[in-house]
Protein backbone atom coordinates (compact mmCIF):
# COMPACT_ATOMS: atom_id res chain seq x y z
CA UNK A 1 0.00 0.00 0.00
CA UNK A 2 1.41 3.36 -1.01
CA UNK A 3 -0.95 5.46 1.13
CA UNK A 4 0.64 7.49 3.91
CA UNK A 5 0.19 6.05 7.37
CA UNK A 6 -2.71 7.59 9.29
CA UNK A 7 -0.49 7.78 12.35
CA UNK A 8 3.26 7.54 12.33
CA UNK A 9 4.94 8.18 15.65
CA UNK A 10 8.57 7.60 16.52
CA UNK A 11 10.06 7.69 20.00
CA UNK A 12 7.29 9.71 21.67
CA UNK A 13 8.27 10.93 25.12
CA UNK A 14 6.29 12.86 27.73
CA UNK A 15 7.60 13.56 31.19
CA UNK A 16 5.70 15.01 34.11
CA UNK A 17 8.34 16.01 36.62
CA UNK A 18 10.27 12.83 37.35
CA UNK A 19 7.69 10.50 35.86
CA UNK A 20 8.20 9.44 32.27
CA UNK A 21 4.52 9.00 31.46
CA UNK A 22 5.33 8.09 27.86
CA UNK A 23 8.79 6.73 27.43
CA UNK A 24 9.70 6.26 23.79
CA UNK A 25 6.64 4.85 22.05
CA UNK A 26 6.56 4.07 18.32
CA UNK A 27 3.21 3.63 16.59
CA UNK A 28 2.26 3.01 12.98
CA UNK A 29 -1.44 2.98 12.11
CA UNK A 30 -2.44 2.27 8.52
CA UNK A 31 -5.33 4.02 6.82
CA UNK A 32 -8.70 2.39 7.34
CA UNK A 33 -7.82 0.18 10.29
CA UNK A 34 -8.93 0.15 13.91
CA UNK A 35 -5.83 0.20 16.02
CA UNK A 36 -6.12 -0.55 19.73
CA UNK A 37 -3.80 0.76 22.42
CA UNK A 38 -4.26 -1.55 25.37
CA UNK A 39 -3.02 -0.96 28.86
CA UNK A 40 -4.00 -0.43 32.49
CA UNK A 41 -4.83 2.93 34.07
CA UNK A 42 -1.76 5.09 34.26
CA UNK A 43 0.12 3.20 31.54
CA UNK A 44 0.44 6.32 29.40
CA UNK A 45 -2.23 5.50 26.79
CA UNK A 46 -4.18 8.71 27.23
CA UNK A 47 -1.03 10.82 27.39
CA UNK A 48 0.23 9.33 24.12
CA UNK A 49 -3.12 9.92 22.48
CA UNK A 50 -3.29 13.52 23.69
CA UNK A 51 0.14 14.19 22.25
CA UNK A 52 -0.94 12.82 18.86
CA UNK A 53 -4.10 14.93 19.03
CA UNK A 54 -2.07 18.15 19.65
CA UNK A 55 -3.51 18.49 23.16
CA UNK A 56 -0.16 17.98 24.86
CA UNK A 57 3.23 19.16 23.62
CA UNK A 58 5.56 16.34 22.56
CA UNK A 59 8.69 16.37 24.75
CA UNK A 60 10.78 14.20 22.44
CA UNK A 61 10.21 12.13 19.34
CA UNK A 62 8.12 12.94 16.31
CA UNK A 63 4.66 12.22 15.03
CA UNK A 64 2.89 12.62 11.72
CA UNK A 65 -0.83 12.40 11.01
CA UNK A 66 -1.37 11.51 7.33
CA UNK A 67 2.13 12.85 6.77
CA UNK A 68 1.50 16.18 8.55
CA UNK A 69 3.94 16.95 11.36
CA UNK A 70 2.09 17.21 14.69
CA UNK A 71 4.58 19.55 16.34
CA UNK A 72 5.14 21.86 13.38
CA UNK A 73 1.65 22.10 11.94
CA UNK A 74 -0.80 21.40 14.76
CA UNK A 75 -3.43 23.56 13.11
CA UNK A 76 -3.47 21.36 10.01
CA UNK A 77 -3.47 18.19 12.12
CA UNK A 78 -6.54 19.47 13.98
CA UNK A 79 -8.38 19.63 10.66
CA UNK A 80 -7.75 15.91 10.15
CA UNK A 81 -8.74 14.46 13.50
CA UNK A 82 -11.69 14.03 15.80
CA UNK A 83 -11.15 13.15 19.44
CA UNK A 84 -13.52 11.75 22.01
CA UNK A 85 -12.18 11.55 25.51
CA UNK A 86 -12.96 9.57 28.63
CA UNK A 87 -14.87 12.53 29.98
CA UNK A 88 -17.51 14.02 27.76
CA UNK A 89 -16.17 17.21 26.21
CA UNK A 90 -19.47 18.87 25.37
CA UNK A 91 -20.98 21.98 26.89
CA UNK A 92 -23.19 21.18 29.88
CA UNK A 93 -25.19 24.40 29.62
CA UNK A 94 -26.19 23.93 25.99
CA UNK A 95 -28.61 21.47 24.38
CA UNK A 96 -27.42 18.64 22.15
CA UNK A 97 -28.39 20.53 19.00
CA UNK A 98 -26.72 23.72 20.20
CA UNK A 99 -23.53 21.83 20.98
CA UNK A 100 -23.30 20.23 17.55
CA UNK A 101 -24.26 23.48 15.83
CA UNK A 102 -21.56 25.37 17.72
CA UNK A 103 -18.83 22.84 16.96
CA UNK A 104 -19.86 22.80 13.31
CA UNK A 105 -19.79 26.61 13.10
CA UNK A 106 -16.40 26.73 14.82
CA UNK A 107 -15.08 24.46 12.07
CA UNK A 108 -16.27 26.71 9.29
CA UNK A 109 -19.69 25.28 8.44
CA UNK A 110 -22.34 27.79 7.43
CA UNK A 111 -25.17 28.09 9.91
CA UNK A 112 -27.64 26.10 7.80
CA UNK A 113 -25.06 23.38 7.08
CA UNK A 114 -24.17 23.18 10.77
CA UNK A 115 -27.86 22.75 11.60
CA UNK A 116 -28.28 20.05 8.95
CA UNK A 117 -25.21 18.21 10.13
CA UNK A 118 -26.40 18.40 13.76
CA UNK A 119 -29.74 16.94 12.73
CA UNK A 120 -28.15 14.14 10.75
CA UNK A 121 -25.77 13.20 13.57
CA UNK A 122 -28.50 13.27 16.23
CA UNK A 123 -30.52 10.87 14.08
CA UNK A 124 -27.52 8.66 13.42
CA UNK A 125 -26.74 8.45 17.14
CA UNK A 126 -30.32 7.95 18.22
CA UNK A 127 -30.47 11.23 20.12
CA UNK A 128 -33.32 12.93 18.27
CA UNK A 129 -35.67 12.90 21.24
CA UNK A 130 -33.09 14.55 23.45
CA UNK A 131 -32.07 17.09 20.81
CA UNK A 132 -33.35 20.10 22.73
CA UNK A 133 -32.62 18.95 26.26
CA UNK A 134 -29.69 20.37 28.20
CA UNK A 135 -26.80 17.92 28.48
CA UNK A 136 -27.08 17.97 32.25
CA UNK A 137 -30.12 15.68 31.87
CA UNK A 138 -28.28 13.15 29.69
CA UNK A 139 -27.30 9.64 30.81
CA UNK A 140 -23.68 8.53 30.60
CA UNK A 141 -24.28 6.61 27.38
CA UNK A 142 -26.10 9.52 25.75
CA UNK A 143 -23.28 11.90 26.65
CA UNK A 144 -20.73 9.55 25.16
CA UNK A 145 -22.72 9.24 21.96
CA UNK A 146 -23.13 12.99 21.68
CA UNK A 147 -19.43 13.42 22.34
CA UNK A 148 -18.60 11.02 19.52
CA UNK A 149 -21.11 12.78 17.26
CA UNK A 150 -19.35 16.07 18.01
CA UNK A 151 -16.09 14.54 16.80
CA UNK A 152 -17.59 13.52 13.48
CA UNK A 153 -19.13 16.81 12.30
CA UNK A 154 -16.55 17.52 9.64
CA UNK A 155 -16.02 13.80 8.96
CA UNK A 156 -12.33 13.79 9.85
CA UNK A 157 -10.35 10.87 8.39
CA UNK A 158 -8.82 9.94 11.77
CA UNK A 159 -10.76 9.48 15.01
CA UNK A 160 -9.11 9.15 18.40
CA UNK A 161 -11.23 7.40 20.99
CA UNK A 162 -9.97 7.46 24.55
CA UNK A 163 -11.57 4.55 26.40
CA UNK A 164 -14.82 4.87 24.46
CA UNK A 165 -16.81 2.40 26.57
CA UNK A 166 -15.38 2.79 30.08
CA UNK A 167 -18.30 3.15 32.46
CA UNK A 168 -20.99 2.15 29.95
CA UNK A 169 -23.48 -0.65 30.52
CA UNK A 170 -23.10 -3.77 28.32
CA UNK A 171 -25.91 -2.87 25.91
CA UNK A 172 -24.64 0.67 25.30
CA UNK A 173 -21.19 -0.76 24.98
CA UNK A 174 -22.33 -3.04 22.16
CA UNK A 175 -23.96 -0.10 20.39
CA UNK A 176 -20.77 1.91 20.69
CA UNK A 177 -18.80 -0.97 19.19
CA UNK A 178 -21.18 -1.08 16.21
CA UNK A 179 -20.79 2.65 15.73
CA UNK A 180 -17.01 2.39 15.79
CA UNK A 181 -17.07 -0.41 13.21
CA UNK A 182 -19.37 1.76 11.09
CA UNK A 183 -16.81 4.58 11.08
CA UNK A 184 -14.25 2.35 9.43
CA UNK A 185 -16.61 1.21 6.69
CA UNK A 186 -17.02 4.89 5.78
CA UNK A 187 -13.28 5.19 5.31
CA UNK A 188 -12.19 6.53 8.70
CA UNK A 189 -9.19 5.31 10.62
CA UNK A 190 -9.70 4.76 14.34
CA UNK A 191 -7.10 4.80 17.08
CA UNK A 192 -8.65 3.76 20.37
CA UNK A 193 -7.33 3.16 23.85
CA UNK A 194 -8.88 0.61 26.14
CA UNK A 195 -8.28 -1.28 29.35
CA UNK A 196 -10.32 -4.23 28.15
CA UNK A 197 -8.76 -7.05 26.19
CA UNK A 198 -12.15 -8.15 24.89
CA UNK A 199 -12.84 -4.68 23.53
CA UNK A 200 -9.53 -4.58 21.71
CA UNK A 201 -10.21 -8.13 20.56
CA UNK A 202 -13.71 -7.25 19.25
CA UNK A 203 -12.72 -4.10 17.45
CA UNK A 204 -9.06 -3.76 16.67
CA UNK A 205 -7.20 -5.24 13.75
CA UNK A 206 -3.95 -4.61 15.54
CA UNK A 207 -3.13 -3.92 19.17
CA UNK A 208 -0.21 -2.29 20.93
CA UNK A 209 0.16 -3.13 24.61
CA UNK A 210 1.42 -0.20 26.65
CA UNK A 211 2.85 -0.52 30.12
CA UNK A 212 4.53 2.17 32.18
CA UNK A 213 4.99 4.43 29.22
CA UNK A 214 6.50 1.77 26.97
CA UNK A 215 5.16 -0.42 24.23
CA UNK A 216 5.69 -3.97 25.44
CA UNK A 217 3.98 -5.88 22.63
CA UNK A 218 2.28 -5.36 19.32
CA UNK A 219 0.33 -7.69 17.09
CA UNK A 220 -3.06 -8.92 16.02
CA UNK A 221 -5.48 -9.92 18.79
CA UNK A 222 -4.85 -13.58 17.94
CA UNK A 223 -1.10 -13.23 18.21
CA UNK A 224 -1.50 -11.46 21.51
CA UNK A 225 -3.82 -14.04 22.98
CA UNK A 226 -1.72 -16.92 21.73
CA UNK A 227 1.03 -15.63 24.00
CA UNK A 228 -1.09 -16.39 27.05
CA UNK A 229 -3.07 -19.36 25.78
CA UNK A 230 -6.69 -19.19 24.71
CA UNK A 231 -8.06 -19.91 28.13
CA UNK A 232 -6.91 -20.05 31.69
CA UNK A 233 -7.41 -22.71 34.30
CA UNK A 234 -7.60 -21.28 37.79
CA UNK A 235 -7.03 -23.73 40.59
CA UNK A 236 -7.18 -23.23 44.34
CA UNK A 237 -4.81 -25.79 45.88
CA UNK A 238 -5.90 -27.27 49.21
CA UNK A 239 -3.97 -26.18 52.26
CA UNK A 240 -0.93 -28.43 52.68
CA UNK A 241 -0.95 -29.53 49.03
CA UNK A 242 2.47 -29.96 47.46
CA UNK A 243 2.77 -26.79 45.40
CA UNK A 244 6.03 -27.83 43.78
CA UNK A 245 4.52 -31.15 42.71
CA UNK A 246 1.50 -29.30 41.29
CA UNK A 247 3.81 -27.07 39.29
CA UNK A 248 5.62 -30.09 37.83
CA UNK A 249 2.34 -31.74 36.87
CA UNK A 250 1.25 -28.61 35.00
CA UNK A 251 4.57 -28.36 33.19
CA UNK A 252 4.38 -31.98 32.10
CA UNK A 253 0.74 -32.04 31.00
CA UNK A 254 -0.01 -28.53 29.76
CA UNK A 255 3.51 -27.76 28.63
CA UNK A 256 3.19 -24.32 30.19
CA UNK A 257 4.58 -22.48 33.18
CA UNK A 258 1.84 -21.88 35.77
CA UNK A 259 1.54 -18.63 37.69
CA UNK A 260 1.52 -19.59 41.36
CA UNK A 261 0.83 -17.43 44.38
CA UNK A 262 2.47 -19.51 47.16
CA UNK A 263 0.79 -17.71 50.10
CA UNK A 264 -2.78 -18.33 48.94
CA UNK A 265 -2.16 -21.51 46.97
CA UNK A 266 -3.79 -20.04 43.85
CA UNK A 267 -2.50 -21.25 40.54
CA UNK A 268 -3.25 -19.94 37.04
CA UNK A 269 -2.46 -22.20 34.10
CA UNK A 270 -2.49 -20.85 30.54
CA UNK A 271 -4.06 -23.35 28.11
CA UNK A 272 -4.19 -23.61 24.32
CA UNK A 273 -7.74 -24.90 24.52
CA UNK A 274 -10.14 -25.23 27.41
CA UNK A 275 -10.25 -29.01 26.83
CA UNK A 276 -6.80 -29.35 28.31
CA UNK A 277 -8.14 -28.32 31.70
CA UNK A 278 -9.50 -31.85 32.25
CA UNK A 279 -6.08 -33.36 31.52
CA UNK A 280 -4.46 -31.13 34.11
CA UNK A 281 -7.09 -31.96 36.73
CA UNK A 282 -6.72 -35.70 36.09
CA UNK A 283 -2.98 -35.23 36.45
CA UNK A 284 -3.51 -33.59 39.82
CA UNK A 285 -5.67 -36.43 41.07
CA UNK A 286 -3.26 -39.09 39.86
CA UNK A 287 -0.33 -37.42 41.63
CA UNK A 288 -2.36 -36.73 44.78
CA UNK A 289 -2.51 -32.91 44.59
CA UNK A 290 -5.64 -31.81 46.49
CA UNK A 291 -7.63 -28.88 45.23
CA UNK A 292 -10.59 -26.95 46.65
CA UNK A 293 -11.93 -25.06 43.63
CA UNK A 294 -11.51 -24.88 39.90
CA UNK A 295 -12.58 -22.54 37.11
CA UNK A 296 -11.79 -22.14 33.43
CA UNK A 297 -11.88 -18.64 31.96
CA UNK A 298 -10.76 -16.71 28.95
CA UNK A 299 -7.50 -14.94 29.58
CA UNK A 300 -7.92 -11.58 31.23
CA UNK A 301 -5.95 -8.47 30.53
CA UNK A 302 -4.21 -9.18 33.79
CA UNK A 303 -2.89 -12.46 32.48
CA UNK A 304 -1.82 -10.99 29.17
CA UNK A 305 0.02 -8.42 31.20
CA UNK A 306 1.54 -10.95 33.46
CA UNK A 307 2.72 -12.98 30.54
CA UNK A 308 4.16 -9.99 28.72
CA UNK A 309 5.54 -7.87 31.51
CA UNK A 310 5.93 -10.23 34.42
CA UNK A 311 3.64 -8.16 36.64
CA UNK A 312 -0.10 -7.68 36.94
CA UNK A 313 -2.15 -4.99 35.27
CA UNK A 314 -3.20 -3.48 38.58
CA UNK A 315 0.32 -2.97 39.88
CA UNK A 316 0.78 0.49 38.41
CA UNK A 317 0.33 2.21 41.76
CA UNK A 318 4.00 1.90 42.60
CA UNK A 319 5.65 2.27 39.25
CA UNK A 320 9.13 3.13 40.38
CA UNK A 321 10.39 0.16 42.43
CA UNK A 322 8.78 -2.60 40.37
CA UNK A 323 9.23 -0.87 37.04
CA UNK A 324 12.99 -1.06 37.07
CA UNK A 325 13.00 -4.83 37.42
CA UNK A 326 10.42 -5.71 34.79
CA UNK A 327 11.13 -3.28 32.00
CA UNK A 328 13.93 -5.56 30.78
CA UNK A 329 11.66 -8.57 30.84
CA UNK A 330 9.03 -6.65 28.91
CA UNK A 331 11.48 -5.67 26.23
CA UNK A 332 12.52 -9.31 25.90
CA UNK A 333 8.95 -10.37 25.26
CA UNK A 334 8.47 -7.68 22.70
CA UNK A 335 10.90 -9.32 20.32
CA UNK A 336 8.83 -12.49 20.50
CA UNK A 337 5.52 -10.80 19.78
CA UNK A 338 6.47 -8.01 17.43
CA UNK A 339 4.95 -8.68 14.03
CA UNK A 340 7.45 -6.78 11.95
Amino acid sequence: MTATAAVDAAGLVKTFGKLRAVDGIDLQVSQGEIFGVLGPNGAGKTTALRMLATLLPIDAGQAWIFGVDVTREPHRVRQLIGITGQYASVDEDLTATENLWMFGRLQGLRSADARASAKRLLAQFDLEEAADKPIAQFSGGMRRRLDLAASLITRPPLIFLDEPTTGLDPRTRGQMWDTIRGLVTEGCTVLLTTQYLDEADQLAGRIAVIDRGRKVAEGTPDELKASVGNSTLQVQLAGGADQELARQVVRKIAGAEPVLTPESGRMNVPLDTADRAADVLIGFRQSGVAITSVSVDKPTLDEVFFAITGHGADAEDDPVPAGIGVSGAGAGHETVLEVQ
Binding site: A6, T54, D93, L106, Q107
Partner: protein
Protein backbone atom coordinates in the same frame (compact mmCIF):
# COMPACT_ATOMS: atom_id res chain seq x y z
CA UNK B 1 -29.85 14.52 1.63
CA UNK B 2 -29.55 14.17 -2.08
CA UNK B 3 -26.49 12.87 -3.81
CA UNK B 4 -26.51 15.96 -6.01
CA UNK B 5 -25.23 18.14 -3.21
CA UNK B 6 -22.09 16.03 -2.97
CA UNK B 7 -21.28 16.56 -6.63
CA UNK B 8 -19.13 19.61 -6.05
CA UNK B 9 -17.21 19.04 -2.83
CA UNK B 10 -14.05 20.59 -4.24
CA UNK B 11 -15.67 23.97 -4.73
CA UNK B 12 -17.62 23.89 -1.49
CA UNK B 13 -14.51 23.32 0.61
CA UNK B 14 -14.89 22.33 4.26
CA UNK B 15 -18.45 23.60 4.31
CA UNK B 16 -19.54 20.59 2.26
CA UNK B 17 -18.88 18.33 5.24
CA UNK B 18 -22.40 18.83 6.50
CA UNK B 19 -23.99 17.05 3.61
CA UNK B 20 -24.02 13.56 2.13
CA UNK B 21 -24.23 10.99 4.95
CA UNK B 22 -22.88 8.10 2.91
CA UNK B 23 -19.96 9.77 1.20
CA UNK B 24 -16.80 7.92 2.14
CA UNK B 25 -13.97 9.78 3.78
CA UNK B 26 -11.00 10.49 1.56
CA UNK B 27 -7.88 11.17 3.67
CA UNK B 28 -5.74 12.44 0.78
CA UNK B 29 -8.37 15.01 -0.16
CA UNK B 30 -8.77 15.97 3.49
CA UNK B 31 -5.04 16.59 3.81
CA UNK B 32 -5.06 18.65 0.61
CA UNK B 33 -7.91 20.75 2.00
CA UNK B 34 -6.16 21.65 5.26
CA UNK B 35 -5.07 25.24 5.70
CA UNK B 36 -1.96 26.20 7.65
CA UNK B 37 -3.56 28.86 9.88
CA UNK B 38 -6.76 30.64 10.74
CA UNK B 39 -7.73 33.71 8.72
CA UNK B 40 -8.91 37.02 10.19
CA UNK B 41 -12.48 36.27 9.05
CA UNK B 42 -12.35 32.94 10.86
CA UNK B 43 -11.00 34.56 14.03
CA UNK B 44 -13.85 37.09 14.03
CA UNK B 45 -16.52 34.50 13.28
CA UNK B 46 -15.17 32.04 15.89
CA UNK B 47 -15.01 34.81 18.50
CA UNK B 48 -18.63 35.71 17.80
CA UNK B 49 -19.67 32.05 18.11
CA UNK B 50 -17.92 31.86 21.46
CA UNK B 51 -19.73 35.07 22.46
CA UNK B 52 -23.01 33.42 21.44
CA UNK B 53 -22.14 30.52 23.72
CA UNK B 54 -21.36 32.86 26.63
CA UNK B 55 -24.65 34.73 26.15
CA UNK B 56 -26.60 31.45 26.14
CA UNK B 57 -24.90 30.50 29.39
CA UNK B 58 -25.72 33.88 30.93
CA UNK B 59 -29.37 33.48 30.02
CA UNK B 60 -29.46 30.04 31.59
CA UNK B 61 -27.61 31.06 34.75
CA UNK B 62 -29.18 34.41 35.64
CA UNK B 63 -27.49 34.41 39.05
CA UNK B 64 -24.37 35.52 37.15
CA UNK B 65 -26.02 38.91 36.86
CA UNK B 66 -26.19 39.52 40.61
CA UNK B 67 -22.93 41.45 40.70
CA UNK B 68 -23.84 43.74 37.82
CA UNK B 69 -27.36 44.43 39.06
CA UNK B 70 -27.30 44.41 42.85
CA UNK B 71 -23.93 46.03 43.34
CA UNK B 72 -24.60 49.26 41.41
CA UNK B 73 -28.02 49.63 43.06
CA UNK B 74 -26.78 48.92 46.57
CA UNK B 75 -23.44 50.74 46.45
CA UNK B 76 -24.86 53.86 44.86
CA UNK B 77 -27.50 54.30 47.55
CA UNK B 78 -25.24 53.21 50.38
CA UNK B 79 -22.26 55.42 49.52
CA UNK B 80 -24.47 58.40 48.71
CA UNK B 81 -26.23 58.40 52.06
CA UNK B 82 -23.23 57.41 54.18
CA UNK B 83 -20.50 59.67 52.71
CA UNK B 84 -22.63 62.39 51.13
CA UNK B 85 -22.94 64.57 54.23
CA UNK B 86 -19.35 64.04 55.37
CA UNK B 87 -17.65 64.71 52.03
CA UNK B 88 -19.83 67.22 50.22
CA UNK B 89 -22.05 68.62 52.93
CA UNK B 90 -25.17 66.89 51.63
CA UNK B 91 -26.18 63.89 49.55
CA UNK B 92 -27.30 65.91 46.54
CA UNK B 93 -24.06 67.72 45.95
CA UNK B 94 -22.06 64.50 46.48
CA UNK B 95 -23.82 62.68 43.63
CA UNK B 96 -21.94 64.30 40.69
CA UNK B 97 -18.71 63.25 42.41
CA UNK B 98 -19.88 59.79 43.43
CA UNK B 99 -21.84 58.40 40.46
CA UNK B 100 -18.95 58.39 37.95
CA UNK B 101 -16.78 56.86 40.70
CA UNK B 102 -19.27 54.04 41.27
CA UNK B 103 -19.46 53.45 37.52
CA UNK B 104 -15.70 52.96 37.41
CA UNK B 105 -15.78 50.71 40.44
CA UNK B 106 -18.57 48.43 39.23
CA UNK B 107 -17.01 48.13 35.80
CA UNK B 108 -13.75 47.05 37.42
CA UNK B 109 -15.50 44.50 39.63
CA UNK B 110 -17.21 43.16 36.54
CA UNK B 111 -13.82 42.67 34.86
CA UNK B 112 -12.75 40.57 37.79
CA UNK B 113 -15.58 38.13 37.29
CA UNK B 114 -14.49 37.79 33.65
CA UNK B 115 -11.25 36.21 34.87
CA UNK B 116 -12.93 34.06 37.50
CA UNK B 117 -15.52 32.73 35.06
CA UNK B 118 -12.95 32.02 32.39
CA UNK B 119 -10.95 29.96 34.87
CA UNK B 120 -14.06 27.98 35.90
CA UNK B 121 -14.95 27.46 32.27
CA UNK B 122 -11.47 26.31 31.31
CA UNK B 123 -11.68 23.48 33.82
CA UNK B 124 -14.67 21.99 32.02
CA UNK B 125 -14.36 19.17 29.52
CA UNK B 126 -15.64 21.25 26.64
CA UNK B 127 -12.38 23.22 26.61
CA UNK B 128 -10.61 20.03 25.63
CA UNK B 129 -12.66 20.03 22.48
CA UNK B 130 -12.01 23.71 21.79
CA UNK B 131 -8.30 22.96 22.01
CA UNK B 132 -8.52 20.01 19.64
CA UNK B 133 -10.49 21.99 17.07
CA UNK B 134 -8.75 23.90 14.29
CA UNK B 135 -9.83 27.22 15.76
CA UNK B 136 -8.09 30.45 16.71
CA UNK B 137 -6.60 30.29 20.19
CA UNK B 138 -7.85 33.76 21.00
CA UNK B 139 -11.52 32.94 20.30
CA UNK B 140 -12.31 31.09 23.57
CA UNK B 141 -10.84 34.05 25.49
CA UNK B 142 -12.21 36.93 23.44
CA UNK B 143 -15.67 35.42 22.90
CA UNK B 144 -16.80 35.59 26.54
CA UNK B 145 -15.34 39.08 26.76
CA UNK B 146 -17.49 40.23 23.88
CA UNK B 147 -20.50 38.78 25.68
CA UNK B 148 -19.39 40.58 28.83
CA UNK B 149 -20.02 43.90 27.08
CA UNK B 150 -23.65 43.25 28.02
CA UNK B 151 -22.65 43.06 31.66
CA UNK B 152 -20.69 46.31 31.57
CA UNK B 153 -23.62 48.01 29.89
CA UNK B 154 -26.00 46.79 32.59
CA UNK B 155 -23.60 47.80 35.38
CA UNK B 156 -22.93 51.31 34.05
CA UNK B 157 -26.54 51.91 32.99
CA UNK B 158 -28.01 50.83 36.31
CA UNK B 159 -25.61 53.00 38.27
CA UNK B 160 -26.68 56.12 36.38
CA UNK B 161 -30.31 55.10 36.69
CA UNK B 162 -30.00 54.64 40.45
CA UNK B 163 -28.24 58.00 40.67
CA UNK B 164 -31.06 59.72 38.83
CA UNK B 165 -33.61 58.08 41.12
CA UNK B 166 -31.94 59.48 44.24
CA UNK B 167 -31.63 62.94 42.74
CA UNK B 168 -28.59 63.06 40.43
CA UNK B 169 -29.07 65.41 37.49
CA UNK B 170 -26.11 64.94 35.12
CA UNK B 171 -25.13 68.27 33.58
CA UNK B 172 -23.71 66.62 30.48
CA UNK B 173 -27.15 65.56 29.33
CA UNK B 174 -28.02 62.31 27.58
CA UNK B 175 -25.06 62.47 25.19
CA UNK B 176 -22.63 63.15 28.01
CA UNK B 177 -23.94 60.20 30.01
CA UNK B 178 -23.86 57.92 26.96
CA UNK B 179 -20.28 59.01 26.29
CA UNK B 180 -19.39 58.26 29.90
CA UNK B 181 -20.99 54.82 29.65
CA UNK B 182 -19.14 54.00 26.41
CA UNK B 183 -15.83 55.10 27.90
CA UNK B 184 -16.43 53.03 31.03
CA UNK B 185 -17.37 49.96 28.98
CA UNK B 186 -14.28 50.29 26.79
CA UNK B 187 -12.01 50.68 29.82
CA UNK B 188 -13.64 47.76 31.59
CA UNK B 189 -13.25 45.60 28.50
CA UNK B 190 -9.60 46.57 28.12
CA UNK B 191 -8.78 45.98 31.78
CA UNK B 192 -10.59 42.64 31.65
CA UNK B 193 -7.65 41.33 29.60
CA UNK B 194 -5.51 41.62 32.76
CA UNK B 195 -7.95 39.42 34.62
CA UNK B 196 -8.25 37.06 31.67
CA UNK B 197 -4.48 36.68 31.82
CA UNK B 198 -4.69 35.96 35.55
CA UNK B 199 -7.44 33.46 34.69
CA UNK B 200 -5.10 31.57 32.37
CA UNK B 201 -2.15 31.46 34.79
CA UNK B 202 -3.84 30.87 38.15
CA UNK B 203 -4.34 27.36 39.49
CA UNK B 204 -8.02 27.70 40.38
CA UNK B 205 -10.98 30.04 40.14
CA UNK B 206 -10.56 30.81 43.82
CA UNK B 207 -6.97 31.87 43.25
CA UNK B 208 -8.10 34.17 40.44
CA UNK B 209 -10.57 35.75 42.83
CA UNK B 210 -7.91 36.27 45.48
CA UNK B 211 -5.32 37.79 43.16
CA UNK B 212 -7.92 39.99 41.49
CA UNK B 213 -9.14 41.39 44.81
CA UNK B 214 -5.57 42.31 45.71
CA UNK B 215 -5.28 44.33 42.52
CA UNK B 216 -8.77 45.80 42.52
CA UNK B 217 -9.12 47.16 46.02
CA UNK B 218 -6.09 49.47 46.00
CA UNK B 219 -6.88 50.55 42.42
CA UNK B 220 -10.45 51.59 43.14
CA UNK B 221 -10.11 53.00 46.65
CA UNK B 222 -6.74 54.70 46.14
CA UNK B 223 -8.27 56.82 43.41
CA UNK B 224 -10.46 59.90 43.22
CA UNK B 225 -13.53 57.68 42.82
CA UNK B 226 -15.12 58.51 46.17
CA UNK B 227 -13.24 61.49 47.63
CA UNK B 228 -11.69 64.70 46.24
CA UNK B 229 -7.89 64.34 45.90
CA UNK B 230 -7.33 67.59 47.83
CA UNK B 231 -8.35 65.87 51.06
CA UNK B 232 -5.53 63.31 50.80
CA UNK B 233 -1.99 63.48 52.24
CA UNK B 234 0.65 64.40 49.65
CA UNK B 235 2.21 60.97 49.07
CA UNK B 236 -1.19 59.38 48.59
CA UNK B 237 -2.35 62.18 46.31
CA UNK B 238 0.66 61.44 44.07
CA UNK B 239 -0.34 57.80 43.71
CA UNK B 240 -3.96 58.70 43.15
CA UNK B 241 -2.98 61.09 40.36
CA UNK B 242 -1.12 58.40 38.39
CA UNK B 243 -3.68 55.67 39.08
CA UNK B 244 -5.39 54.92 35.75
CA UNK B 245 -8.69 54.51 37.55
CA UNK B 246 -8.48 58.20 38.53
CA UNK B 247 -8.16 59.15 34.86
CA UNK B 248 -11.21 57.05 34.05
CA UNK B 249 -13.16 58.64 36.90
CA UNK B 250 -12.14 62.19 35.93
CA UNK B 251 -12.95 61.59 32.28
CA UNK B 252 -16.31 60.05 33.18
CA UNK B 253 -17.14 62.99 35.47
CA UNK B 254 -16.30 65.52 32.78
CA UNK B 255 -18.47 63.69 30.28
CA UNK B 256 -21.44 63.10 32.54
CA UNK B 257 -21.40 66.39 34.45
CA UNK B 258 -20.17 68.88 31.83
CA UNK B 259 -20.61 66.98 28.58
CA UNK B 260 -16.98 67.64 27.57
CA UNK B 261 -14.28 65.26 26.38
CA UNK B 262 -11.15 66.04 28.37
CA UNK B 263 -7.52 65.08 28.01
CA UNK B 264 -8.21 62.52 30.77
CA UNK B 265 -10.45 60.67 28.32
CA UNK B 266 -7.51 60.46 25.90
CA UNK B 267 -5.23 59.08 28.62
CA UNK B 268 -7.86 56.53 29.58
CA UNK B 269 -8.26 55.34 26.00
CA UNK B 270 -4.51 55.13 25.55
CA UNK B 271 -4.08 53.18 28.81
CA UNK B 272 -6.83 50.79 27.67
CA UNK B 273 -5.14 50.19 24.33
CA UNK B 274 -1.78 49.57 26.02
CA UNK B 275 -3.36 47.06 28.38
CA UNK B 276 -4.95 45.20 25.44
CA UNK B 277 -1.71 45.25 23.44
CA UNK B 278 0.21 43.74 26.36
CA UNK B 279 -2.25 41.38 27.97
CA UNK B 280 -4.13 39.97 24.97
CA UNK B 281 -1.00 38.30 23.50
CA UNK B 282 0.14 37.23 26.98
CA UNK B 283 -3.23 35.61 27.65
CA UNK B 284 -3.27 33.76 24.35
CA UNK B 285 0.27 32.53 24.92
CA UNK B 286 -0.52 31.33 28.41
CA UNK B 287 -3.76 29.66 27.24
CA UNK B 288 -1.88 27.90 24.46
CA UNK B 289 0.73 26.65 26.91
CA UNK B 290 -1.98 25.41 29.24
CA UNK B 291 -2.61 22.50 26.89
Amino acid sequence: MSTITTAGPASAGPASAGTGPLRTVDPAAAVARTRPRTTITEIVSQTLIMAWRALKKMRRNPEQFFDVTLQPLLFTAMFAYIFGGAISGNVHSYLPLLIPGIVAQTVLTTCMSTGVQLREDMEKGVFDRFKALPMARIAPLAGPMVADLVRYLIAAGLTFMMGVIIGYRPGGGVLGVLGAIVLAIFTGWALAWIFTFIGTIAKSARAVQGISMLILFPLTFLSNAFVPVTTLPGWLADFVKINPVSHLVSATRALANQGVVTREAGWTLLAGLVVIAVFAPLSVRSYRRHM
